[in-house]
């Protein structure tokens, strides 16, 4: 044990100094959801299958669909992505989603492309 300990004394520390340095997430990481309103057909299977009731799909006045995602409720399982037949939902590798304000956790995604998160 003594030798191991002394060896480590001269090694570089293994600690990653998050938030200064951020690890890259592996491909296929289940992070924040992304929604493509133009692909959505409003079948609402994602709503039905979501274990946490975190996603709501509404039809807007112009006949398109908007998604309301509650990041505080979402458990990042990715079941909605599997359920969606039209690939209107996608997972990103964004993982530092903590907020000091509860309201900021809810994201509305409308059909207008400039309002994408």
């Amino acid at each position: 044990m003594l030798i191991e300990v002394l060896e480590n004394l001269f090694k570089k520390p293994i600690t990653i100094t998050y938030p200064i340095k951020k690890e890259a997430m592996p491909k296929g990481y289940r992070g924040k959801l992304k929604f493509f309103p133009e692909k959505c057909i409003g079948c609402k299977l994602c709503m039905k299958d979501c274990p946490a009731n975190a996603i709501t799909i509404n039809m807007t006045a112009d006949g398109k669909y908007e998604a309301i995602l509650d990041m505080g409720k979402c458990i990042y399982c990715g079941q909605c992505v599997d359920s969606c037949a039209k690939k209107a939902l996608e997972l990103t590798d964004e993982f530092d989603l903590a907020q000091t304000d509860n309201k900021k956790l809810t994201v509305d995604i409308h059909a207008e492309p400039e309002k994408k998160p």
Binding site: M1, E4, V5, I14, M25, P26, G28, Y29, R30, K48, D49, C50, P51, A52, I75, Y76, C77, G78, Q79, D82, L91
Partner: protein, 407 residues
């Protein structure tokens, strides 16, 4: 004030205590340093999962069940989907079975290494904690690479698995096994030779083979007392009937034995993973599952890192289950703790409790009641507390409302 009559007094260990990372309560009667009796109170983590399962669809239940426990999440979800697949009569593809096995064994690696670190911490050996948790990251990274998350892998779905293991990932797994194997060998040396560790572990928490059988202990706790109980061999599931491995037992019957069993089991696990990755069969990874499951009942058992997970599922033909029963390994093992602590010292309590690798969120599952009606003078509401602290600092000339942005 402690009760000093007859020299015996009771101290509370938990529900909040540095030795326990999860809430449970041990009321320990002490005479000096000696333990005269222990009362265990469970249930602080009851979240109503069994009832909640009855109100959700099978698909939603998979993720709910997965969140019974963070460390053995794959164990619980596999046990559940196996039961549902048995009722629905689904034939799971072989490749899916192998992938389930590989993830399950990777989970065992990180669980056992975590345990070793916690055990080190409980006996005041934080260096071991830091080293094992550092090395555990290798297993965690591999799991994140394959499944997309470090815990709560979301790998299982009814009828198979959700993600495939690609050739590149398979190679990475094989590469990760090498340093893990080397480090585990080192930890076996440490646990069996380092004098202070051996002194603190051996002879502590003794429970005989007869008592182990009688109290129904499972997993490494039972195997360390010479009871060769391993669901992977006794009641094979996923790919375990095709994979060669040894069931590790030990007859020390104490904490030392439990440490040795877990560490040696890791060496078996490495062999099993590399066998599984080498012989990964080709084919699809899932079959289509119906949303409504026909009426029926099934029992599924799974050898989680901590011991046997027992799931019973009853369906009624709809898309909701009729009844889900979960028995986690800790509930079976915690009964032995009283026996293990007989005539021991207070200093042994943390390591004895840790030695069964308890997971109280697995053990307790039902409903949460927020008691907002009952207010007594002992309870300070958050707002009152904030106001109090602001006033306290203002008396001393610091206005925290300006400094810290408190309201």
């Amino acid at each position: 004030m402690p009760e000093m009559n007859s020299g015996e007094f009771k101290i509370p260990i938990g529900p909040q205590h540095p030795a326990l990372k999860e809430p449970t309560s041990f009321s320990v009667a002490l005479k000096g340093e000696k333990i005269m009796g222990v009362d265990v109170r469970l249930g602080y983590n009851h979240r109503g999962i069994e009832k909640a399962c009855e109100e959700r669809t099978y698909i939603q239940d998979v993720y709910l069940i997965e969140r019974i426990c963070g460390i053995c999440s794959h164990s619980h979800s596999t046990a559940f989907v196996q039961a549902v697949e048995e009722i629905a009569g689904l034939e799971v593809p072989k490749r899916a079975k192998y992938i389930r096995m590989i993830i399950g064994e990777l989970e065992r690696i990180h669980s056992h290494l975590l345990w070793l670190g916690v055990a080190g911490h409980e006996i005041g050996f934080d260096t071991l904690l830091m080293y094992t948790w550092r090395d555990r990251e290798i297993a965690m990274d591999i799991l994140a690479e394959i499944t997309g998350n470090r815990v709560n892998y979301g790998m299982n779905t009814i009828g198979g698995v959700r993600r495939d293991i690609t050739a590149a990932q398979a190679k990475e797994v094989m590469e990760a096994l090498k340093p893990l194997e080397e480090r585990t060998k080192y930890y076996i040396d440490i646990a069996t030779q380092e004098p202070t560790i051996v002194e603190r572990l051996s002879g502590v928490g003794y429970v005989s083979k007869e008592d182990t059988i009688k109290l129904g202990a499972v997993g490494p706790t039972a195997r360390a007392s010479g009871v060769a109980r391993d669901i992977r061999r006794d009641d094979p599931y996923s790919a375990y009937d095709e994979i060669p491995f040894n069931v590790i037992t030990d007859d020390h019957c104490d904490v030392y034995g439990r440490a040795v069993v877990r560490l040696k089991e890791l060496m078996e696990t490495y062999k099993m993973i590399s066998y599984g990755v080498m012989n990964l069969p080709e084919g699809p990874i899932s079959v289509r599952a119906p949303r409504k499951i026909p009426a029926g009942e099934a029992i599924s058992r799974y050898e989680a890192p901590r011991g046997e997970d027992f799931h019973y599922v009853k369906s009624n033909g709809s898309d909701h289950p009729e009844r889900v029963k979960v028995r986690a390994p800790t509930l079976a093992n915690v009964q032995c703790v009283k026996k293990m602590l007989e005539n021991r010292y207070l200093a042994d309590l943390p390591i004895v409790v840790a030695a069964i690798d308890p997971c109280f969120s697995c053990t307790d599952r039902l409903i949460e009641v927020k008691d907002v009606d009952k207010k007594s003078s002992d309870v300070i509401e958050w707002n009152d507390l904030t106001r109090y602290s602001i006033d306290w600092y203002r008396d001393r000339g610091i206005d925290m409302t300006k400094v810290g942005g408190l309201k």
